[in-house]
Symmetry: D2
Subunit: 390 residues, 4 copies
Amino acid sequence: MEINTHSKSLVKKFRDVRARSEEICRPLEIEDYVVQPIVDVSPPKWHLGHTTWFFETFILVPNFPLYEVFDPQYNFVFNSYYETIGARVIRTHRGNLSRPSVSDVYRYRKYVDEKMNEFLDSHYMKDAIAPLLELGLNHEQQHQELLITDIKYILGHNPLFPAYKKDSMQAEKAVKEKRMLRFSEGIYEIGFDGLGFCFDNEMTKHKVYLNDFAISSQLVTNGEYLEFMEAGGYSDFRYWHADGWNWVKENNALSPLYWHKIDGTWMYYSLGGLQEVDLNEELCHVNFYEASAYAAWKAMRLPTEQEWEAASSAFSWGKRWEWTNSAYLPYPDFKKEPGAVGEYNGKFMVNQMVLRGASVATPPGHSRNTYRNFFQPDLKWQFTGIRLAK
Amino acid sequence: MEINTHSKSLVKKFRDVRARSEEICRPLEIEDYVVQPIVDVSPPKWHLGHTTWFFETFILVPNFPLYEVFDPQYNFVFNSYYETIGARVIRTHRGNLSRPSVSDVYRYRKYVDEKMNEFLDSHYMKDAIAPLLELGLNHEQQHQELLITDIKYILGHNPLFPAYKKDSMQAEKAVKEKRMLRFSEGIYEIGFDGLGFCFDNEMTKHKVYLNDFAISSQLVTNGEYLEFMEAGGYSDFRYWHADGWNWVKENNALSPLYWHKIDGTWMYYSLGGLQEVDLNEELCHVNFYEASAYAAWKAMRLPTEQEWEAASSAFSWGKRWEWTNSAYLPYPDFKKEPGAVGEYNGKFMVNQMVLRGASVATPPGHSRNTYRNFFQPDLKWQFTGIRLAK
Amino acid sequence: MEINTHSKSLVKKFRDVRARSEEICRPLEIEDYVVQPIVDVSPPKWHLGHTTWFFETFILVPNFPLYEVFDPQYNFVFNSYYETIGARVIRTHRGNLSRPSVSDVYRYRKYVDEKMNEFLDSHYMKDAIAPLLELGLNHEQQHQELLITDIKYILGHNPLFPAYKKDSMQAEKAVKEKRMLRFSEGIYEIGFDGLGFCFDNEMTKHKVYLNDFAISSQLVTNGEYLEFMEAGGYSDFRYWHADGWNWVKENNALSPLYWHKIDGTWMYYSLGGLQEVDLNEELCHVNFYEASAYAAWKAMRLPTEQEWEAASSAFSWGKRWEWTNSAYLPYPDFKKEPGAVGEYNGKFMVNQMVLRGASVATPPGHSRNTYRNFFQPDLKWQFTGIRLAK
Amino acid sequence: MEINTHSKSLVKKFRDVRARSEEICRPLEIEDYVVQPIVDVSPPKWHLGHTTWFFETFILVPNFPLYEVFDPQYNFVFNSYYETIGARVIRTHRGNLSRPSVSDVYRYRKYVDEKMNEFLDSHYMKDAIAPLLELGLNHEQQHQELLITDIKYILGHNPLFPAYKKDSMQAEKAVKEKRMLRFSEGIYEIGFDGLGFCFDNEMTKHKVYLNDFAISSQLVTNGEYLEFMEAGGYSDFRYWHADGWNWVKENNALSPLYWHKIDGTWMYYSLGGLQEVDLNEELCHVNFYEASAYAAWKAMRLPTEQEWEAASSAFSWGKRWEWTNSAYLPYPDFKKEPGAVGEYNGKFMVNQMVLRGASVATPPGHSRNTYRNFFQPDLKWQFTGIRLAK
């Protein structure tokens, strides 16, 4: 029967996704779960609790009469930006919370997972709930990527530079031919219109008119970016947005994140530890201002998100989130869902730039060429890179 | 001869524009020329000096061999954001500078105007210089609007609420029928392609594909916005962007700028002084967050700048700068000019939203339906308003 | 032989003091060792490492040729404010450091303790080193008090309000008669002049001339302070220093630290957990501004540190650090030691107020009536209280 | 008759003091009256209005039934820190207020002066009011010194470096023999106990016990301080308080205020304009941190305020406010006056350091060897200097 099949595949997906979050955290010490070095980075235990809280709050509590909340205080602790749910007793900061302990959080996950399994096998699980379950799983996959970027930030800003995993995510570095792929002026269709899950911000599919454009078949490499650095790119305001130039001066910016010049050699903190910068590797950890300045120095530009999507089948992507020159704004027929779930995307549609593609930290099966990632233009702790256009 | 005619009309335009800046300042006390209450507002004497410095620096110095700089120190004082020109001895703040005095600034204007008149009559004035002169005049017209908005801010934030002019800019308030104007899906052409002056950011004319949309024939009135306020619009996060909601809370925002509830009555500081809010007048002095929240409360939205431009011949505009839901980004074939003049527009193309139309403070002859104004989403000291779309 | 005896008692003191720091941390979860909620509070593992680093850096490295540094990186991590020693690779924040892990820190302690024991038994241990060893032990005792106050802050600012120990530090609350003890005008002698250890800031003993004064035999209780709160003390600027009043307004201050009004009842977070405020208990966790305002409301004042010391044998003290109205300044013959050890006290002699006595968190044997504690006037996470004078 | 005589001399003093404030402002342009470059500096027109408001509010309104307030709004504008009086409509900043205009302020002064003259001649003027009038005049004299220091700051931070007066305050620079004056241990009497006016903070006269001390007969000169600068004083933390060292680093401090190294020469902005630093002149415009660091570098110290007062008849003083190593605290029998006048001094008795003496900017007749000036330790826009002790 259709529903059962669907349900079974969902049950399997639920188990896989939930297990992968814990798998990502396996190399951590307990202490690594707790700290929050900057406001954008969350403690790993918070990610583990928050993704669990999502299933408890949005699936179990409203739909499973047998469910008892694990701990009513956890709503304050693991709620993120959902203004609809709850208030706070003590104004605090995720990185100040030593409790609940890591083992409490794992007990919380175990409890909710067991109840979810009971629920998914029960008659309370209705077809109408499936989309919300899908959302919860995609939500957890987004946090899996954040888990990796945040763990990297925590370990990479420790003066001992501990490795996460010695062999972590060594991508093949086949040097490929770089060329400009050309596309002709005309109407293109943009947005999601297939089967399966997508976020609300990818809808609805709509027509756009694009001018002639060209886009690179390859991402910018460390070696290419180093030329920009050595040519004085960080000290010449002409390549920068006004806000970008202010960012350079206020932060005394000189290089991508995780680059350290030690005894005359550029070193890079990867999840495997500190190592020499590999000039042939795709550049990583630049922000929008740096990506734009690099493009300006090359007398080129970043693609728009529409150009990127229209061209995406012509190049390989997925190693870096690629900055576009598109602000994060609603598609023509975008509709915000009512209630707390509607806070998911729409309320961020100002002051952020779109990134397209996926990265080495993105969970398998969690990428699409219509996927719209978005961050403020000064952030660079995600696995971000540059693809040029003109 | 073509050139002479052109030149004559430019000479006349030069005199008119320059005179109008001083005309705007006539009602001021000397003290009003000096202060800078917030970083976005400049002292009026700075506007008068800065617009003069533009002609001195970009027209006279490079093109008129007979010219002697009025005071070499003025480059530090009246330079604005042009990173290419000059450095600073003392880091200071426009609102801290009591000198040059107001009479010094008027002497500076007089000196540069006389030299400009000599120059424009001389053989040094070449056709190739005309576009830069046009830019200088349009630049001064932009500062004329800022002069009015900044004077309003300075006087409107003084506890004595002094009037600027008793009869200033009383617009006719004919209550007109409001209706939604409908436009059909298809390709539209956007951008400037006529004769005469435009800014670089309006070019080049290009095709866009728009979905069906509807746009209001009228601006939102004070009375309509008051309904939103009284319905609790400022205390319900659901209508706000996340950044907008933070802005509301940090600033304890409760009303448009210049509104004061005194003894139970909403009062408004206009350039004529403090007066009761006129419910039929077009709403003024809201920021992008407020405009968006109002639209969300009405279950509508702001138009994009492309929709606005495509529809603009179907409604009357010009009383308020109208917030659009478009981020300020380059048009497909936008080219940044080389040198300091190229810093004019392109470097601001991040983190700002586009406003379309013009306002009661815009100089006559300085508006076009392709004009792209832009400000950060939290600013509201310009004469800004709301036109709804869906 | 004199030296051996001395050395033996030092060896015993070394073991006792070092063991007590670990004893204090026994009730903690690993996560509790890591966080830093405010800049004044350090993570417990940092205290454990820093006190160890002191012995390594100032005793073992310069005096014990057989010693090998445990980990050269630890100098960056566990150095505190000693400008003389080392520089930093990465600018960081104690609360961001998940590594070294808690077990690493305990291994570090064990290693240094073993080497110290070897050293103390060896011929390298000279008499001349004893004072520095004494300083190291007193330094660790100071950090033992900070361990308790910081643990309280970490747990007391967690929305789960976990208890540290259920029976922790329940002081006897004998209600005693309160009266004003009177002292006559004249010359008194102030400062340390005995045998045994004292800090450099307690020297040298010197004469002061005091007017007639009276000082309370008892500390202010919670009940007495609650009267001040209920009489509107926090909303009447007349009782406050100008800086204190700014502090009240900026922090919206309404009560001592750790007080929470829940369902109409004043609750207090003690190390045993959240409990009702005990009106007969000595008030705790007020800052200098609050202490001064309370005194002003009672039409009295705080004692000076000279009055406190002169009168100290006439009352019992030791439950609360008692704010005085004396700024932390050098005694007439104060001499700053050369080198890093000289940074211990003298460089803080500005912008801080003196507290006298000791508290329930002070290690046994670590108090004297000449002891000068000092903190900025806005801080109140120490176990601070009020004794009135006039 | 006694009262009349007293009254007549007060009338004369009133006229003289009031005239002198306007005399100080005579060289100013209108624009100079308006700006406020930093929070510690007030616009000159504010000083003129505020001192006038004092007489209106504390003398005329409560005592002269015939008096009509000049403008009730001025209470918001010219009130300073008196929490007792008034509230605010608009939160603003003195440097943002272009109105009341300078001519309005002079009209206000003229109006109040006329009414004061009427009042002083009337039977409403009672003996009991004389102390408050004295306070008002001394208050205005304090603001006369601030007028000079604030005008210097305004003009000295303008890139045009305009002179205030070409011949302003050129003190004789007789190089005198410098020696250490010695004083013996014992009881000294400190505080005001004479006839005539003093501030409440100078009372009451009381005994202190001082150790042997020595104090320099001369102030430190520019040349001596330059040696400290050239010896690397600003880059060696050992000479600085911890807070002082933070101040150095945050402000990148390298020299006294108003010193500019131009083409290799140290220049100094005096009220006569920019000129070369005179090595024999008494050092001016250092803060407490700099004064302390200089003393530490000389292996000496700053005197306490008690030492200074005890020794003051043995040296000449009055050119610089001399930093002491005494925190600003109440004398043993200090009593705060009730009401707004009581806010004058007592509420500042925390977080500030005492300066003794007077300066070239102090009004004639406004200095005493018991006078206690006080400022935060990081401020240096007053005419401050250094006298060493040991």
